[in-house]
C-alpha cells in the first residue's frame, strides 16, 4: 500500500512545484476556463491583425517616404508639414467639414419635424411611416446615380420650361452649388434612420406629462419647447454623433453624384486619402489619414463629453 502511495505522492508534489512557476503565468494570462478563452482570444487576434496592425503600420509609414513598393527612409514629420500647407488637402477638409455640418443640421432638423408629425394623430400613419423609412435600406451609391439623372437632366428641363433661371443648368455642374446636391442626397439617405431614433425617444415620453401640461394651459409650441425637446435631447445627441460621424467619411454619395468635381470642388477627405494608391503619394496620404483620425477622435471625444454631461443614454 505504502509502496504504491509514495510514488504517486511524489509525482503530485513535483507537479505542484512545477505549477508554482507556471501557475503564476497561467493565472495571469489564462485565469478562467479554457472555453471562455477560446471565445475571446480568436476575436482579439483577428481584431489585432485586421484593424490595429494596419493602423499602427499606417502611422509608421506616415513618417517615411514610402511609395508603396521599393526602398524607403525616414523623413520625420515632413509629410505632415507638406499636408498642412497643401491646398488640395486643405480644400478637401473644407468641403468635408462644411458638408458634414450642414448635412448634419439638415438631417436632424428635418428628421425631428417628420418624427413629430409621424407621431401625431394623422391618417394613414402606418403607411406614411413605411414610405419615410424606405430610403434607409437603399444603397447610397445607386440612389446617387438616380439623383444625378434627375438633377442634371430632368430638373433643368422643368426649370427652363417655367423660366426659373437658377436651376436651368445642373447644380452638380457648378462648382459653387455642387455640394448642395450632395447635402440633398446624403440627407435623403440618412433622414429615415434619424426619424426612427427620434420616434424611439418620443414613445418613451409618458403621456401623463402632456396631460398635465394641457391642464395647465400650455400651448403646443410651449409643450414642445419646455417638454418634448428637453426630454428628446439625449436622442438628439445620439443622432448628431451617428450622422456626423458617417458624414465625415462621406464617399459613396460623392462618387455617385460628382466624383469629386467639378474640378476638385467636392473631393471629400476619404477620396483624397484613397488617391494615395496612385502618384506615389502612399506615405503622404497616410499622414493625411493620421490627421483625419485625430480630427475624428476629437469630435468623438467632444460629443461623448457633451453626452455625458447632459446625462445621456450611453
Amino acid at each position: 500500500m505504502t509502496a504504491t502511495a509514495l510514488p504517486s505522492q511524489r509525482t503530485e508534489t513535483a507537479a505542484r512545484s512545477r505549477r508554482g512557476a507556471l501557475g503564476k503565468v497561467k493565472k495571469l494570462f489564462f485565469p478562467v476556463a479554457p472555453a471562455y478563452l477560446l471565445m475571446v482570444i480568436p476575436a482579439i487576434i483577428l481584431f489585432t491583425f485586421f484593424i490595429i496592425y494596419p493602423t499602427i503600420q499606417g502611422m509608421f509609414w506616415s513618417l517615411t517616404n514610402y511609395v508603396g513598393y521599393g526602398t524607403w527612409h525616414f523623413v520625420g514629420l515632413a509629410n505632415y508639414q507638406a499636408a498642412f500647407s497643401d491646398p488640395t488637402i486643405r480644400d478637401s477638409y473644407g468641403f468635408t467639414l462644411l458638408f458634414a455640418v450642414v448635412a448634419c443640421i439638415v438631417t436632424n432638423v428635418t428628421a425631428l419635424a417628420l418624427a413629430l408629425a409621424l407621431n401625431a394623430k394623422i391618417k394613414w400613419r402606418t403607411g406614411l411611416r413605411t414610405v419615410f423609412f424606405m430610403p434607409m435600406v437603399i444603397s447610397g451609391l445607386v440612389i446617387s446615380y438616380v439623383f444625378t439623372f434627375i438633377l442634371s437632366t430632368s430638373v433643368p428641363i422643368i426649370a427652363s420650361a417655367i423660366h426659373f433661371a437658377p436651376l436651368e443648368t445642373s447644380i452638380l455642374a457648378n462648382q459653387h452649388t455642387a455640394w448642395l446636391g450632395i447635402v440633398l442626397v446624403a440627407s435623403w439617405v440618412a433622414i429615415p434612420g434619424a426619424i426612427i431614433i427620434f420616434l424611439a425617444g418620443l414613445v418613451s415620453i409618458p403621456t401623463e406629462v402632456y396631460e398635465a401640461a394641457s391642464i395647465d394651459g400650455a400651448s403646443a409650441w410651449k409643450q414642445f419647447q419646455r417638454m418634448t425637446f428637453p426630454l428628446l435631447f439625449p436622442f438628439f445627441v445620439i443622432n448628431t454623433i451617428l450622422t456626423f460621424k458617417s458624414f465625415l467619411n462621406v464617399y459613396d454619395v460623392v462618387v455617385g453624384l460628382t466624383n469629386g468635381g467639378p474640378g476638385t470642388a467636392t473631393t471629400s477627405v476619404a477620396m483624397e486619402i484613397f488617391s494615395g494608391f496612385f502618384n506615389g503619394d502612399y506615405a503622404y496620404q497616410m499622414a493625411n489619414a493620421v490627421i483625419f483620425f485625430a480630427i475624428t477622435m476629437f469630435f468623438a471625444v467632444f460629443q461623448l463629453g457633451v453626452m455625458r454631461r447632459r446625462g445621456g443614454v450611453l
Binding site: M39, G68, L114, A120, L141, V142, Y282, A300
Partner: protein
C-alpha cells in the same frame, strides 16, 4: 405602426408598462392638415423611386428628350434583360450574397461569444482590458486604415469577397460587442448556473441557453449587418482586386461608362440592385424598425 414601433424592454422596462399608444392632446381627432403636409412631404421619397421605375420600363425613344417623369406606356420589359446580360447580374448577386452571409453570421457569432465571455468574467481584469481594447475600433473609420489594409489583404490573398466579409465583421466588432454585452448583463446568470448543475459544458451552455436568449439582439445585429454589407461600396471597391468578383453596388460603378449610351438599361440595373433590400424591408419592416430602435438606444 404605433404599437409596432416599440422601445425595447431591455432599455426601458419601466416606461414600457406605462406607455399608451401615443399622447394625442386633442383627444383622438385626426389632424387632417398635418396629414396633408406629411403626405406632400412623402412625395420627396415617392417621386425619385417612381422616376427610377418609370425610367427602367421605357424604351430610349419613349424617354426621348423629356424629363423622364412621363408614365411608361407601353411597358418595355427588355431593359431588365439587357441589364442582366450586360453586367453579369447573377454573379454580382452571388458575390453580394456571399459577403452579406459571411458578415451576418460572423458578426452574430464572434461578437456574441466574445461579449458573453467578457460579461461573465468581468471580475478578471484581463477581460475588462479586452473589452476596452475592442471598443477602440469605434473610433477607427475605414478611410483611416484603408491604405495599409488594402496592401495587407492583398499580401495574404484575401483581396476577394471573403476578405471584404471578414473586414465587415471586424469593423463592426466594437459596436456589436457593446450591444451584446449590454443585453447579456440583463440576462439572469442563474439560468446558466442551473444548466451547469445539470452537467452542461461551457459550450453547451452557450448553445442551448445563452444563444436562444440572445435572439432579439442577434436579430438587431443581423439586420444592421445585412443592410451595411449589402449596400457597402467603399470596402469591396478597394479590397476586391478582380472586377469579376465585385458586389452589386460596385458593378453599378464599373458599368457607369457603358450605361451613358442607354439610360433605360442603366435604370433597370439600378432597380435590380435596389429591389432586394427594399423587398426585404417591406416584408420585415417591423423587425427592421424595432431592431434599429434597439440599436440606437443602447
Amino acid at each position: 405602426m404605433a404599437t409596432e414601433v416599440r422601445t425595447p424592454a431591455v432599455a426601458a422596462p419601466r416606461i414600457e408598462s406605462r406607455r399608451k399608444p401615443r399622447p394625442v392632446p386633442e383627444g383622438g381627432r385626426i389632424n387632417w392638415g398635418l396629414t396633408i403636409i406629411v403626405a406632400i412631404c412623402s412625395l420627396t421619397i415617392i417621386i425619385p423611386l417612381y422616376f427610377a421605375i418609370a425610367m427602367a420600363l421605357k424604351s430610349p425613344a419613349q424617354t426621348g428628350t423629356g424629363t423622364g417623369f412621363n408614365f411608361p406606356w407601353p411597358i418595355h420589359w427588355g431593359n431588365f434583360r439587357a441589364a442582366w446580360d450586360l453586367t453579369d447580374t447573377p454573379l454580382a448577386f452571388a458575390m453580394s450574397t456571399l459577403v452579406t452571409v459571411i458578415a451576418v453570421v460572423g458578426e452574430i457569432l464572434i461578437s456574441s461569444l466574445a461579449a458573453w465571455a467578457i460579461v461573465r468574467n468581468w471580475g478578471h481584469w484581463q477581460f475588462r482590458v479586452t473589452f476596452f481594447y475592442l471598443l477602440a475600433a469605434l473610433f477607427i473609420p475605414f478611410p483611416v486604415v484603408a491604405l495599409p489594409q488594402v496592401k495587407l489583404m492583398a499580401a495574404i490573398g484575401l483581396d476577394n469577397p471573403f476578405g471584404v466579409g471578414i473586414l465587415h465583421i471586424m469593423f463592426q466588432l466594437a459596436f456589436n460587442v457593446l450591444l451584446f454585452s449590454a443585453f447579456i448583463r440583463s440576462i439572469p446568470v442563474e439560468l446558466e448556473e442551473s444548466a451547469r448543475m445539470d452537467g452542461c459544458t461551457t459550450w453547451q451552455t452557450y448553445r442551448k441557453i445563452v444563444l436562444p436568449l440572445l435572439t432579439p439582439i442577434a436579430a438587431t445585429v443581423g439586420i444592421f449587418a445585412f443592410l451595411q454589407s449589402w449596400n457597402d461600396f467603399m470596402m469591396p471597391q478597394l479590397i476586391t482586386a478582380n472586377p469579376k468578383w465585385q458586389t452589386l453596388p460596385v458593378i453599378q460603378y464599373l458599368f457607369q461608362d457603358q450605361f451613358t449610351t442607354n439610360f433605360n438599361v442603366a435604370f433597370a440595373s439600378y432597380l435590380m440592385a435596389l429591389l432586394p433590400t427594399l423587398v426585404v424591408f417591406l416584408i420585415a419592416q417591423r423587425w427592421v424598425v424595432s431592431g434599429i430602435m434597439r440599436g440606437s438606444i443602447k
